[in-house]
């Protein structure tokens, strides 16, 4: 655990220093490892508004490229990135004539951190899974949490691997829709 944290710190020190020097390979590593998490975070903060989350993701990413400085480690990097997300979103809301309550901003700043953003999404994921049919949940459990190969699942279901994959895609779409619906009730401001 300790070693993993040290490795992560080293990774973030390297990619932030590399990007600050303008190295493209560092940008690619940052993108591969952070993009999805960044988007998820903004999806949460925009209450599941995919279009807005995408727009904000692009604005944040451009600012990351422009202003990134070498960071001490993973926590420092994500703290800076989330601060940047908040700043970009508040600017966007003001630019678009939305009222931003100061107490809401303060609340958000206190709440937002690397851990609780993911934890909140995991809670939404688990809650959304409860809305699935039992056989759908079982399929996800086998594939994602038991790491059973799709071929083995197909044999168990007396089906084909391709049919299982199609079924999995449909389940994920359903799950995604439920999560986005749930996020609409998420209070940000």
């Amino acid at each position: 655990m300790m070693q993993e944290a040290e490795e992560n710190d080293t990774f973030f020190r390297e990619i932030t220093a590399g990007m600050a020097e303008g190295h493209e390979f560092a940008y690619r590593r940052f993108y591969d490892s952070c993009f999805d998490k960044l988007y998820r975070y903004l999806l949460l903060r925009t209450r599941g508004d995919e279009d807005l989350a995408r727009e904000l993701t692009q604005l944040v990413l451009l600012k990351v490229v422009r202003y990134i400085q070498p960071c001490a480690g993973e926590r420092a990097f994500w703290a800076w990135l989330y601060q940047l997300c908040r700043s970009v979103q508040v600017d966007w809301l003001r630019r678009n004539g939305k009222t931003v309550a100061q107490d809401a901003v303060a609340f958000w700043q206190e709440q937002a951190s690397t851990e609780n953003a993911d934890e909140e999404l995991f809670e939404h994921l688990e809650a959304s899974m409860e809305h699935l049919a039992p056989e759908e949940r079982e399929l996800l459990r086998l594939s994602y949490f038991e790491a059973v190969p799709q071929r083995a699942i197909a044999e168990r279901m007396q089906s084909t691997a391709k049919a299982v994959e199609s079924k999995m895609a449909r389940i994920r779409k359903k799950l995604r829709q439920t999560i986005l619906e749930r996020l609409k009730d998420y209070v940000v401001f």
């Binding site: 020097e21 993009f35 999805d36 988007y39 995604r176």
Partner: protein, 156 residues
């Protein structure tokens, strides 16, 4: 249910959209373009640095050549030229046809040349009888002493 499993499921669930990959790639390209524009790497400066070095080198070269032409300097020959001439007497002046500024004046050498003279010394040769009368019946022979050959007669 580990957090890495949940993370994978969450990622794949949220990416379950036709436009997601296109959006992801578009943003990647936008960021890359911005990176190239705002943070040029040391590597991209290299051609400019080389070009600047070349220009400075050419400039210094031209400046040096100009300086040289403004201030003629004494050229020191790196080798000795030899000429064959008729025997010269003291006081002769030799002029170069290739460079009329080059003049050589001859004069008698003072002290640099050592004159060695020899003179004839007559030798007296002894015959066997005379030699025997010199040594008598005493043993005699040549002995090398410190590299010098000496003739020695032993006895009283």
């Amino acid at each position: 249910m580990s957090s890495s499993d949940k993370n994978r499921l969450l990622n794949e669930t949220l990416r379950e959209s036709r436009q997601y990959e296109a959006f992801r790639n578009a943003i990647f390209q936008a960021g890359l373009t911005e990176l190239r524009k705002t943070r040029p790497t040391a590597r991209s400066w290299t051609p400019w640095a080389l070009a600047a070095s070349l220009l400075v080198g050419i400039g210094v070269g031209i400046w040096g050549m100009t300086r040289k032409s403004e201030h003629p300097q004494v050229v020191i020959a790196s080798s000795v030229d030899s000429f064959v001439s008729r025997p010269l007497s003291a006081g002769d002046v030799v002029r170069s046809t290739a460079d009329d500024r080059l003049l050589v004046q001859t004069e008698r050498a003072h002290g640099a040349v050592e004159v060695v003279t020899t003179e004839h010394v007559p030798l007296t040769e002894l015959d066997d009888r005379e030699l025997l009368s010199v040594f008598g019946k005493k043993p005699a022979g040549f002995v090398q002493n410190n590299g010098h050959l000496q003739f020695m007669v032993l006895g009283n």
